[in-house]
């Protein structure tokens, strides 16, 4: 019968723990390596897209088609969201203002909050969901069905044709959608104000616009260009670098929405900090 050796037992446990520690270290190192490789890939992709954006033979027809897809086809969703945004803000804020006897400040307050923050961020988040996922899924399925390869072998630069046009369309269309959502939000606010009380259209808008200054408007508009660029770029990157299986299309669409939404919030935070310093 084998004799129990406590020293050997302890040694075995210690060896097992060391091996597990080494394995964990290797796994974590590989993870960190993959993370850094991914970051490098993103920068390389950004560099390529930027370079192609400024090269000759711009795909203007495809750019217009993408503007139509991104801008015009998002109008119904943005319209509903814009009106509801203004309506909800009014319904929520009115009782609080009423208790201070400051209901007359309602149009100005809602207009400022819509133009400075709510309009840009909520519209950008809605666009991240609709446009970002659409781009991720479309380019992902083009990759899976070899359409991007087909484009490449027929001497068409897919970065220029597919990516540059989409990123530029998102960068230019999302600010316009934000302005549209702001306008509808203020209209929704007027509708909300009339549900509980009564205020004329002219009075409401004169109160709303007297509260808005140039400084409210410009930084909010500038940041929407960055929101658009982020949404377009992330959607395209995730779709273009999707794997070969059909599962990767879903993953590309999903990660495009998650990452672009997160980046919109981060860009907003940075923009607010910069605006605060002005």
């Amino acid at each position: 019968m084998k004799k129990f050796n406590p020293v050997l037992k302890v040694k075995n446990i210690a060896t097992g723990q060391s091996i597990r520690l080494i394995e964990k270290t290797i796994a974590k190192t590989a993870e960190a390596g993959n993370f850094l490789t991914n970051i490098a890939d993103v920068f390389l992709f950004m560099t390529r897209v930027t370079k192609e954006a400024f090269s000759r033979n711009f795909e203007f027809k495809e750019f217009l088609r993408q503007c139509f897809q991104v801008g015009y086809k998002s109008l119904p969703l943005i319209s509903v969201t814009g009106v509801i945004m203004g309506l909800v803000l009014t319904i929520q804020a009115r009782p609080a203002l009423l208790s201070f006897g400051a209901v007359s400040m309602l149009p100005g307050m809602v207009a400022v909050s819509l133009i400075r923050e709510m309009g840009p961020v909520i519209t950008a988040l809605i666009c991240a969901g609709k446009i970002g996922s659409g781009m991720g899924a479309e380019l992902g399925s083009m990759k899976v069905s070899e359409q991007i390869d087909a484009m490449e072998v027929s001497s068409t630069n897919p970065i220029k044709f597919l990516i540059v046009t989409r990123v530029l369309a998102a960068t230019l269309m999302i600010p316009l959608l934000v302005l549209y959502a702001d306008a509808l939000g203020i209209l929704g606010c007027w509708a909300g104000a009339n549900i509980k009380g009564e205020v004329t259209f002219v009075l409401f808008f004169s109160q709303a616009f007297s509260s808005i200054e140039f400084i409210d408007f410009i930084p909010a508009l500038v940041k929407t260009f960055f929101f658009g660029a982020v949404i377009g770029f992330v959607g395209c990157y995730k779709g273009y670098t999707a794997g070969r299986g059909t599962e990767s299309v879903g993953i590309a669409a999903n990660s495009a929405v998650v990452l672009s939404s997160l980046l919109v919030i981060i860009v907003d935070l940075i923009a607010v900090q910069i605006t605060d310093m002005l």
């Binding site: 083009m142 069905s145 390869d149 087909a150 027929s154 001497s155």
Partner: protein
Amino acid sequence: MISTQTAPCASTEKVNLKEVIEINNLRKGFGSEDVLINVSLNLYSGENLVVLGKSGSGKSVLIKCIVRLLEPDDGTINVLGENVSALDHRSLGELRKKIGFLFQSGALYDSMTVKQNLEFPLRRIKKNLNQKEINEKVKEVLENVGLSDALNKMPSQLSGGMRKRISLARTLVVDPMIMLYDEPTTGLDPVTSNEISLLINEVKRKYKTSSIIITHDIECARTSADRIIMLLDGEVYQEGELEKFEKSDDPSIKSFFK
């Protein structure tokens, strides 16, 4: 329309022995797994070369390396006298204009009609054509593949065989010198497969192309091959004319040609 009723025996035609593709010691791997190991082959002018092999033997990887959709790990690929790996982006684009690639899935652009699919490469490669000439060219290739009435259809409205034909028309519209067919008959019924195989012969005859046909469909090989190369586990296992393969006693070859 190109007739698909002509004699299927492509090997009876005389082959000009000028090399259009020359591959030497090509090696390509993914991770730790080697997919192609020291593959060497030549494609001669006016020839239909069939590359046979089981799924996963590296056939598709081979032709993707030829157009540099995949970068080889080692070895050289010369296409029309140019070393593909050494070409810059612009020169590679110019070379690709001379090569037609029929993808396994057809790879038609989903968001475009058949007409737009055919116009897409034409407008980019043959930039000097006006709209009338483009329309005539599109009409001509659609007639050649027997699908003139599909002009305004979307790819989603086409059957598998029609998608393959339209995809073939899209590659032919720019008059390529070399055709690369990736599994042209996969997923098609035997009748349609035979039509596609005959079409490959007619494309060779009418457009004077040299072709590499990747397939595991033995009937397609019988119909279209001037010469056959068999890949096994990423290596060239056997090379020769159809007859040599038909008469072989090698179990790996017999399993294909039974």
